[in-house]
Symmetry: C2
Amino acid sequence: MPKTSDHFAAAELARLCAAKGLRHAVISPGSRSAPLVIAFNAQEGIQCLQVIDERSAAFFALGMAQQLHAPVVLICTSGSAVLNYGPAIAEAFYQRVPLLVITADRPEEWVDQGEGQAIRQQGVLALHMKRSVQLPRNANDDLSRWHCGRLINEAIDATLLPVPGPVHVNVPFAEPLYGTSEAIGGTRFIAPVMTESFILPEHARWLTGQLSASKKVMVLAGQGIWSDGMRKQLVQLASLPQVTVMTEATSNLDDATFITTIDRTIEGITDDNETDLKPDLLITFGGAIVSKRIKGLLRNWKPAQHWNVDLGQRHYDTYQSLTHDIAVSPEVFFAQLSGSVIASESIYRDAWRMVDERIAKAHERILVEAPFCDLVVFEQLLQRIPANSDVHLANSTPARYAQLFQRTRGQRWFSNRGTSGIDGCTSTAVGATFATEKATTLITGDTAFLYDSNAFWNEHLSPHLRIIVIDNGGGNIFRYIDGPDKNAELLPWFEAPHGRDPMALARSFDLPCYEVKDMASLKAGLEQLYNAHEKPAVLVVRTDAEVSPKVLREYFKKLKA
Amino acid sequence: MPKTSDHFAAAELARLCAAKGLRHAVISPGSRSAPLVIAFNAQEGIQCLQVIDERSAAFFALGMAQQLHAPVVLICTSGSAVLNYGPAIAEAFYQRVPLLVITADRPEEWVDQGEGQAIRQQGVLALHMKRSVQLPRNANDDLSRWHCGRLINEAIDATLLPVPGPVHVNVPFAEPLYGTSEAIGGTRFIAPVMTESFILPEHARWLTGQLSASKKVMVLAGQGIWSDGMRKQLVQLASLPQVTVMTEATSNLDDATFITTIDRTIEGITDDNETDLKPDLLITFGGAIVSKRIKGLLRNWKPAQHWNVDLGQRHYDTYQSLTHDIAVSPEVFFAQLSGSVIASESIYRDAWRMVDERIAKAHERILVEAPFCDLVVFEQLLQRIPANSDVHLANSTPARYAQLFQRTRGQRWFSNRGTSGIDGCTSTAVGATFATEKATTLITGDTAFLYDSNAFWNEHLSPHLRIIVIDNGGGNIFRYIDGPDKNAELLPWFEAPHGRDPMALARSFDLPCYEVKDMASLKAGLEQLYNAHEKPAVLVVRTDAEVSPKVLREYFKKLKA
């Protein structure tokens, strides 16, 4: 038997994680966590990865888990280390990414007793955890060993069922911390038997009937990664005259018959066609919707029926119109229903397509004439980013710009839209690329890139990662939101004029980096960027802080014209 | 009347903060927080400072408030921004630094409804807040305006009374966010009338009697900044034969009659003198104690009486010996008692002094012979850091080394010993120096320095700040703790071998920086460092990762010899 930690809880955590198929532990250095470090390093089947800054480590793990569709273990020491996980945990909670967060603790008896690195760790992140458990410090009899094992089984399973998310396991350890012993084997493995929910036949019949009878059905896809089978079901639905399917980049559901550029297409709504475009029945599924405009529009329109399809019973009433909460997975929902829906007499699909085509043409015309600016840069990027590669969109300008372009080249799109924070976009992409070993591009802004400045502080940087930093001098997304422009003297407080060069940050990590500032150098820079590199390569694109928001405002005005 | 935000809660927060004497607001950029940005910028008497990374911003504010002994306002937008405050909040909670944490929020009705940047903010950091309040979104009638004003008064006062700490004010705002209006004046100012607690005379007499009768009284001072009057009371106490006063750097109480180098002095305890050195009565006060050795020793010794003096009724039983919880401020306690204590027949004071002097001589001998290493570097630093300046000690190696040297040059010593995290040591020093405009030196390690890499990402860097980074290749403090050295292959998991150069980080911010690696260059480097600079200057001292822990182990062995 191999040597592991002589702390039962640590050894058992490592053993059961491996038994349940977890393969990676992202560990930040520390002392109290020594039993976990020993146990996970001794555990066959688990790869340990070191990331020093816990804030970055948690986003790194999130990026991995997002790609692997499997829980990744996070391990840190006691004290404020745990709190640095906070931002990524909230993101994982809302984005539904499975993380098993194992935090070493002092014995709970010592909390608030003047011990160093002892804080109130039990449940400290519970508001954004699916579950928070406290393991026993001394599992020295059968009852407490049973308790410890049962809690570990439960915690690991809770990262995935019924929907994925973060789970907190807090483990107090008393000194000595560094002892090892033969693995004592341990508690039972409790197997989670996989289940699937279906809609009861009589309800399914009613739903199909509604879909077949309705004249105006809008399907709006939130964030997610879906099976090709489901995409085909949606294509089938979208072939019906009464159905329009709307998707965003992060929906990862593109088809020529869908409306895939919501933010620009809805600019084509006029007093004349609004009645034709309003849905009677709205069907939503998946995670976050990026478009603020579609949210505002649907809240105004208030469709007569809104079905939200979500296994986790999230009960989102985003459009203040929810009438049916359908607690099955979207995959099941469309598989069960879409084949049985029959065409109704309707112009709904075609009304939306007409608008979409008209706006698409206007978009082309405007882009041809536009000067070098963020919008034009995005057009170039989306043409040049390798086909079938992965793209991560940082918050929030890149995530918004990406909605304005058609996506036709088979990329998968990711973004931290659970909480829409800028705090870990780079670390997430670094972790994701480590997991996939696949060509990946992060499109980010100067502020988000500089914020997550420890993202490259680890030994797990993939040469497949490319980072494009659009440096417009600090988040001028605010300049095209109504309001901030009216308080010009306060603009610096909404933006982030940082006086710091993204190139200097890239250089401080010895990353290959390039800098461009006009169309010719952008094209050349993109070629350099996508050459082979041994490390993640960075392209900084300088755009004018005044021109870009101005062009965007004009863009939306001209679309309408 | 000047224009302020048309959101009542925002305007009222700014007005009451100013009325209660708050002078600084540290603001991170964002959109939802616009009403707060407008109101605080419009508020006479309050200076607004921008720090982009919320994790760094909160430590920056903590550094300011620690120096000003007054609450500093923190303002951020909704979402994960708030969670980035977590580490500094826990530090402020345990270090008792007053912070008014104002977080903008979406209307609470939209939480968990698919809105971007909406998380469960209400009370999200409550475990380490003295209080968490939620302001009403619509203060549109007298009752809700009264409620809003009362909560704000209460929250601001709670940052200081009865003991300082962080308080959370969560403020939901509905759009539009950017509107302004004349200040509508508002609710009542509720004045906190200052009070002071004294020990009841009959209890004070009993305590004085105990002190006068006891043969062996140890006074152990935790972290804090105290009045000169109190220091004199302690000197008076220390003149009694039955009293020994022990202080650490961060106690900021030094006197030739105190034991000020606990960690080295207690190495002089032997089987022969242990009985003479054990206290019968232990008196403790103040914040954290750095020395793990004194904690372990006192837990073993278990004095017959342990009085903890703390106005906040912290009820710390750090030594598992607590017999009296004395809920007055230490200032009051010593003022009330120390003049009345009479000398008892005792060798206690002199027994400790003998040990202290013997060990001091051994210390000198060892240092003379030691090769260039962390210990020797510290000796040099403590001689060269300007007299009467401020010194910040990062966690955890610098905070520990500083305990081994006598401090005779009038510096004040600070360290984030509330949670002993490495996450914000630099940002704290940056904020503190901004507040004091006083010569300040941060002594830090390579890992802590690299971790808090956004500390210089603001426009408020004082030219009075100097940073000394002892680069020993990643936290080899673990090499002299028993245990990790027995698992050599696991060492990288306890330390943080980072493959990253502190010089590159300093250069990326255009900070003047110098690099030294032996005694001669160290002396020259220190001269350069303390020359005038326009920005914080950085000195990186390279020490050998093998030599330093070896010397330290030998040091403790030789002290005993």
